[in-house]
């Protein structure tokens, strides 16, 4: 038995990246919470941008508005895919729920912001 444990230790440590063992339920709860935080913030940020940011042609007049808008578009397009990939790589999704190979494309940054997921579309 001791030799078996030693063999397992030798074959699983010392090379490659560290592999972390986590409680499945806690890990999933964390991922879900981070995902909800990101998408909820993105929704609030979208409303804030619509209310307070001005356009200069088809770009944002203010650099902070531009950066904020880029976050909104990225989160709206990608948060779900990254979340699903985290679950998939952890073996927490059934075989028929494998995420697409390529992440969804992100809409180009324009002012005003193109309609997004948080607009109910």
């Amino acid at each position: 038995m001791r030799n078996l444990v030693l063999l397992l230790l030798i074959t699983t440590t010392g090379c490659g990246t560290k592999v972390i063992l986590r409680d499945t339920n806690v890990y999933k709860a964390e991922l879900d919470q981070y995902h909800r935080w990101a998408t909820a913030q993105s929704g609030y940020l979208r409303d804030f941008i619509a209310e307070h940011c001005e356009c200069d042609g088809d770009t944002f007049a203010d650099a902070e508005c531009k950066d904020a808008a880029d976050y909104v578009l990225t989160i709206e397009a990608r948060a779900d895919w990254h979340h699903q990939m985290s679950l998939w790589n952890a073996g927490l999704l059934p075989d028929d729920k494998e995420p697409a190979k390529n992440p969804p494309s992100i809409a180009p940054l324009t002012c005003p912001l193109p309609a997004g997921l948080t607009d109910g579309e």
Binding site: T17, D70, Y71, L73, T74, I75, R78, W81, H82, M85, S86, W88, N89, K101, N102, P103, I106
Partner: protein
């Protein structure tokens, strides 16, 4: 990887000469022309590092991109959210690929062990019967 090193060698003197915008444009063009998604991400990260951090950007980018390409966690604070997302997607897809290979290897090993096990079983049974 050698393309990446060549680009760095060519561009560091250029950036050192305070031609940050020109260097950023050059790298962005390389990123757009790159045929491989990994190269595209590497060049996009370099362009953004130069744009955000100036002439120090390439050194920082080089160190962090090397960490990223070695599958280690990298500090990509300078990167835009969309480029950072591309970089994380690269890591996630690489992990998915490794897991698929491991799964295939385990399935193959299972078949081999199954066959070997069946042979041993047959040998043991025939051995016992011959006694």
């Amino acid at each position: 990887m050698s393309d990446f090193a060549d680009v760095l060698d060519t561009l560091i003197p250029l950036v050192g000469g305070a031609l940050v915008d020109k260097a950023k444009d050059e790298i962005t063009k390389l990123s757009e022309d790159a045929d491989d998604p990994t190269k595209q991400i590497v060049f996009a990260l370099m362009a953004e590092a130069v744009g955000e951090l100036g002439e120090d950007g390439l050194d920082i980018a080089e160190a962090e991109i090397k960490r990223l390409l070695n599958g280690r966690s990298a500090d990509l604070d300078w990167a835009s959210p969309r480029t950072a997302s591309d970089a994380v997607a690269l890591l996630q897809n690489a992990e998915r690929g490794r897991k698929k290979k491991a799964k295939a290897a385990i399935a193959k090993a299972g078949k081999v062990f199954g066959t070997v096990g069946a042979l041993f079983f047959k040998a043991a049974v025939s051995g016992a019967l011959s006694k």
